[in-house]
């Protein structure tokens, strides 16, 4: 296994979960319509710590701007690197919102009511044009917007707590804020794009669809994945891909310890450095076919970048099998 240097301290994923303690005073003024307040433990994402502008400046990617600054910031983004252009191309009108078909507030509806309201949004005859639904009042609620199986476009203004969007399918979601632990658990189709950071266990046990995190993600990202695609534009923590069986994990930044899984078919691509790899996996360059595949995936995720910048993390046994099969097509005796 090749030696992989440990990334510098600054390359570690930011820690939005501990960035600011919850202040009970302001918490009480906003009713949590999703879970009772006493259900929120200290290690869960505190609601008051969630807005992007509350995070330490050095913990944010350069383009992770406050929600209010989106419309001003988008034209200034540097398009030579992977940027938020893909994320924002449909959202630069965040202040005007001309195409909003429905608008619901998480402060006014209980979670069950909200989900029912979204499920009852009528679908147009034109399958290409999904109804747009604006979700307001996101303020760190846990277990929000779960198990929605309805083809609509949701835009969530604000940050959400743990286990947001669990077991969703078909829905196309954009979040203008951070999310807590376990975002998109068990998701089976559709897409979720998070403009901010995610906590630990993002995309756990997802079986399909696309989860894009445009900030950084914590430990065990893509844990027990069974399919789908997971993109993290920034850094990820330790044990990424732990127990994953299938799917694709793309890491735009650096990774912590134990990256990869030797017993799976999951495809892991990384642009930065990993502090260490799980025993049984190794780094390998991309083949042409994978470069094309990854390039398309990056485009679909709105991440600018050249696929050749990435390396893949692959089980040693799988690589050996690939090489053995390749030998028949490209005989090494030539």
């Amino acid at each position: 296994m090749p030696h992989v240097p440990k990334p510098p301290q600054s390359a570690k994923p930011p820690t939005p979960l501990r960035s600011a303690p919850a202040e009970s005073g302001s918490r009480e003024t906003l009713p949590n319509k999703t879970l009772p307040a006493d259900a929120q433990s200290a290690e869960s994402l505190p609601a008051d710590a969630l807005p992007v502008d509350a995070l330490p400046v050095d913990a944010l990617p350069v383009d992770a701007l406050p929600v209010g600054a989106l419309s001003d910031a988008a034209p200034q983004l540097d398009s030579t690197h992977d940027t938020m252009v893909g994320f924002d191309q449909e959202s630069v009108d965040s202040t005007n919102l001309p195409d909003i078909d429905h608008e619901f507030s998480m402060q006014e509806l209980f979670d069950a009511e909200l989900r029912e309201a979204i499920r009852s949004v009528p679908l147009p005859g034109d399958e290409e044009k999904l109804p747009r639904v604006e979700i307001l009042g996101a303020d760190g609620q846990h277990a929000a917007l779960m198990r929605i199986d309805h083809p609509v476009k949701l835009r969530v203004r604000g940050s959400l707590g743990d286990y947001a969007f669990a077991y969703n399918s078909q829905t196309v979601i954009k979040v203008f804020g951070n999310v807590g632990h376990g975002v998109a658990e068990g998701m089976s189709s559709g897409s979720i794009r998070v403009r901010g950071h995610a906590g630990h266990g993002a995309g756990t046990a997802m079986t399909g669809g696309t989860l894009g995190i445009y900030g950084s993600a914590g430990d065990r990202t893509g844990g027990a994945m069974r399919g789908g695609g997971l993109f993290v534009r920034g850094d990820v923590g330790n044990d990424v891909g732990l127990g994953a069986l299938a799917g694709t994990i793309v890491i735009g930044g650096d990774a912590g310890n134990n990256l990869g899984n030797p017993l799976s078919n999951v495809a892991v691509f990384i642009r930065g450095k990993a502090a260490s790899l799980t025993p049984g996996v190794t780094e390998a360059p991309l083949r042409k076919k994978q470069e094309v595949q990854l390039g398309l995936l990056l485009i679909s995720a709105g991440i600018r970048g050249d696929a050749t910048d990435f390396r893949r993390i692959v089980p040693i046994a799988k690589l050996a099998a690939e090489n053995a099969a390749r030998g028949e097509v490209v005989p090494n005796w030539r």
Partner: protein
């Protein structure tokens, strides 16, 4: 049917000198409360915790699961354990209502089922949350038949290989997880349990642990405030007296952690109907009867016809199941109807052995 592991304990009758009165028949049904005020009703304090579904073809496993659940025993299964995605098993379908009965969706009845929520969630589908009575959050890793902390290739293929049973992960064993990847700590697990309550509004959310290092494990598990606790005591090394002591100790620890009155479900391994009643007298709320159901699995394996068109054995599964289990279930109901629900252990149980009395707090009887 089974050996009497708690034979040294005696279920005590009322004092002979007490004033004559008609003995009440205490009900065996129980209701489990959720924090949101909803409750889950279970008719019997019996459940099948770890059925070896992988040993049976899906169709036969589904029929057996529904047959056992039809006797009001809570059966643990994922959809993919016992059926393909497109054709859910009888266990997951609504009980056919009488024509005269209302067909309102809210009044539909389902068989009692518990859903294992493993750390890795292999094989888990969102539909597994629907109409389940218990979500069993398994915090401890489990061994397969070979003793590995792993899932066999066949098991993985059934869960994740689709109807064709495609090989998964290179076709080898896949390691089990010991803690959910999206849970940061036991404190934060409380949020996870609340999430599960939202996803499964008809279910109580339990946490299951092993019986080793009980004090640490119970203290840790109860931090997340589950609706009940499942403790696995089915290791073959555990003797009867140890089993009784472990149940007593578990209940005491739950009381100390302000968890008194919450359900304690025990997975004891081999037990008889009298053992089940004694375990409940010691403080358990429900007892796993895996040992009673395994002979059914063996019977089906032996009697399975080689021809797929021979449905005789398949059609007889409900009758065979009822014939095999009902006597024991009825005996449990009978014994429990004579146990005071809120009585103390010395009032309920006695023993002639000082070791047993010391181990579980039963009254020491003089021969």
């Amino acid at each position: 049917m089974n050996s009497d592991r708690l034979a040294s304990l005696h279920l005590l009758p009322p004092h002979s000198a007490s004033v004559w009165a008609t003995s009440p028949m205490y009900p065996v049904a129980q209701t489990i409360s959720r924090p949101d005020g909803n409750s889950v009703r279970l008719e019997l304090p019996l459940f099948w915790y770890e059925p070896p579904w992988i040993q049976l073809p899906r169709e036969v496993a589904g029929r057996l699961a529904a047959s056992v659940a039809n006797l009001d025993v809570v059966v643990s299964a994922l959809r993919r354990d016992i059926a393909i995605d497109e054709e859910p098993s009888e266990l997951f379908a609504a009980i056919p209502a009488d024509e005269s009965a209302a067909t309102d969706a809210a009044q539909r009845q389902f068989l009692p089922r518990m859903t294992p929520y493993r750390a890795e969630r292999y094989g888990f589908m969102p539909a597994d949350f629907d109409e389940t009575r218990i979500i069993d959050v398994r915090l401890a890793a489990t061994r397969d038949d070979s003793g590995r902390f792993a899932y066999s290739p066949d098991q993985m293929s059934r869960w994740e290989g689709g109807a064709e049973g495609t090989t998964i992960g290179g076709g080898g064993h896949v390691a089990t997880g010991s803690f959910p990847t999206d849970v940061v700590s036991l404190n934060q697990a409380r949020t996870k349990l609340d999430q599960l309550r939202l996803l499964a509004p008809s279910a109580a959310v339990f946490v299951s642990i092993d019986c080793y290092r009980l004090e640490e494990e119970i203290a840790a598990a109860l931090v997340s405030r589950p609706d009940g606790l499942i403790v696995r005591m089915n290791q073959p090394e555990i003797e009867g007296i140890q089993l009784a002591a472990l149940v007593t100790k578990t209940r005491r620890l739950m009381d100390e952690h302000e968890f008194a009155g919450k359900p304690l479900w025990i997975v004891p391994g081999e037990v008889s109907a009298r053992d089940v009643a004694k375990l409940i007298a010691l403080g358990a709320s429900a007892v796993a009867i895996d040992a009673w159901c395994l002979p059914l699995v063996r019977f089906l394996l032996e009697s399975m016809p080689t021809s797929r068109y021979d449905r005789t054995a398949f059609n007889q599964i409900p009758a065979v199941t009822s014939q095999h289990l009902w006597d024991d279930i009825d005996r449990v109901i009978g014994l429990l109807s004579a146990i005071m629900p809120h009585g103390s252990t010395p009032q309920r149980l006695g023993t002639y052995h000082s070791r047993w009395a010391k181990a579980c707090g039963a009254s020491l009887l003089v021969p």
